[in-house]
Amino acid sequence: MNLSVDFAGVTMKNPVTTASGTFGSGAEYSGFVDLSRLGAVTTKGVASVPWPGNPTPRICETASGMLNAIGLQNPGIDLFLERDIPFLKQYDTKIIVNVCGKTEEEYIEVTERLAKAEVDLLEINISCPNVKAGGIAFGQDPKLVERITSRIKRKAKQPVIMKLSPNVTDSAEMAKAAEAGGADGISLINTLTGMKIDIYRRGFALANKTGGLSGPAIKPVAVRMVYQAAHAVKIPILGMGGIRTAEDALEFIMAGAAMVAVGTANFNHPSAAFDVVQGIEAFMRKQGVKDIRELIGCVD
């Protein structure tokens, strides 16, 4: 039985990774999950310098989901390279580094700093709804998506995945723009912009007023967007949004995702990502599927 997949030229032992920002750089979860059993670990967004993020509260629960407005707090690329990459290198898993920035130059600076690092793939977050400058501003205009993709591609030493936003009229158009810019893969979806009001305090549940909605509540939207992107581009797709079980992951795979990421579900169950790997294996055994690749995009 084969679970390994090829993603943008990188071979993963299975198609399961973690969604950026929900798993740190793996250290905190390593007691709960053997990281070597995951296809890859995707790290929290890292910028050229440390970012303090947004004021609290940054988190609130919603029906079958949650809103977050972390605001991309991160230690900056220096500490990340010194601490987080060596930590992950102890494990037999691929490393996907999620990159954020406020300007194109900042994305490029981080990309260049990663050139010599032992990382397998870059995931460029142009879709964070929680920071004012950068982030989503780049992800909502196809011309900007294409331009930033091609500028990053020129400097990148690793394959580049562009992470797209669901907060657009036509995500397939953004996927095409990323492909035109030379992207090696697409990942989607990032969170949907949302809001919760605390009726007793007559105020916002989040200090940032709005936040990104994630979790099972967004899964049908995510599956639809993965399906549409898969039909719009030839490059592989890393699908995510509300995956909690192997059955959820298989929906994304059948819709066309070559890899899947487990995000918010980690908060509900710290070994969720590994449980998804095991569940996919069990499904294949039961259904007599010899190769996971038979399932990718099998629902047309």
């Binding site: 920002g21 929900t22 798993f23 740190g24 905190e28 979860y29 390593s30 007691g31 709960f32 999950v33 053997d34 070597s36 929290k44 440390p50 970012w51 303090p52 993020g53 609290t56 509260p57 940054r58 988190i59 609130c60 629960e61 029906a63 079958s64 989901g65 949650m66 977050n68 972390i70 707090q73 991160n74 230690p75 900056g76 500490l79 979790g215 099972p216 918010t264 579900a265 980690n266 908060f267 509900n268 169950h269 710290p270 070994s271 590994f274």
Partner: protein
Amino acid sequence: MAEKKKCSAVITEQRRLTPDIFSMWLQFPEEYNVAGMAAPGQFLSLYCRDGSRLLPRPISICEIDREGRWIRVVYRQAGEGTKEFSRLRPGETIDVVGPLGNGFQKHSGKNLLIGGGIGIPPMLALANELSGETEVVLGYRDGALFLKEDFEKSGAAVYVATEDGSAGTKGNVIDAIQKNHLSAEYIYACGPIPMLRGVKEYALEKGILAQVSMEEKMACGIGACLGCVCQSVSKDSHSNVNNKRVCKDGPVFDVEEIIL
């Protein structure tokens, strides 16, 4: 390699202490004795059965019986999650990750424990384990007192403050400290932010070393999501930006360390 896990604890007792405060004893499996690893000031992540409520509820450890593999939690019915917990009956199970966070640094000497409202429960686990002279000040909204006798059983001298004056000193915990002329070498406190501010001011003025337990909304509970940060004086070990994680670097902090 993966040695930590979410485990299932059996509820062995569920009791209502006041109209909205409940006490629950949890027993842990022999092969994963959370109680054996627990220390006062740490907390548990309790998970809801209702699958639409994904995030763990952080609840402090109120009492520990390491050999019996028991932990007691005392919680206020605040919303749907804690309402669900209050309906669990003995024999039923609840999913738990823990113990989490860093507990109180224990000192022997003249200890003053201060708990306000739902910040009272963690102080009991501490009172049970401190040696030396221990005084406890408990702040309540009204006469619906809870856990007072348990503190008395621990051997501590117990003082009460109520906002409406229905029991003990009328006012807040600092009023009770002053009225009863309490003094201490070490302070340990948990309660709402305004109370912690008062404690900080009092401790700094008197030059007493104080530790406080903080609260913030959490998603992962283990230090990965950066949801639960509080502003700190020194750099945090994660991002170097003066944002300590309540779940991982706390919930207990030295009071001078935290910007309240």
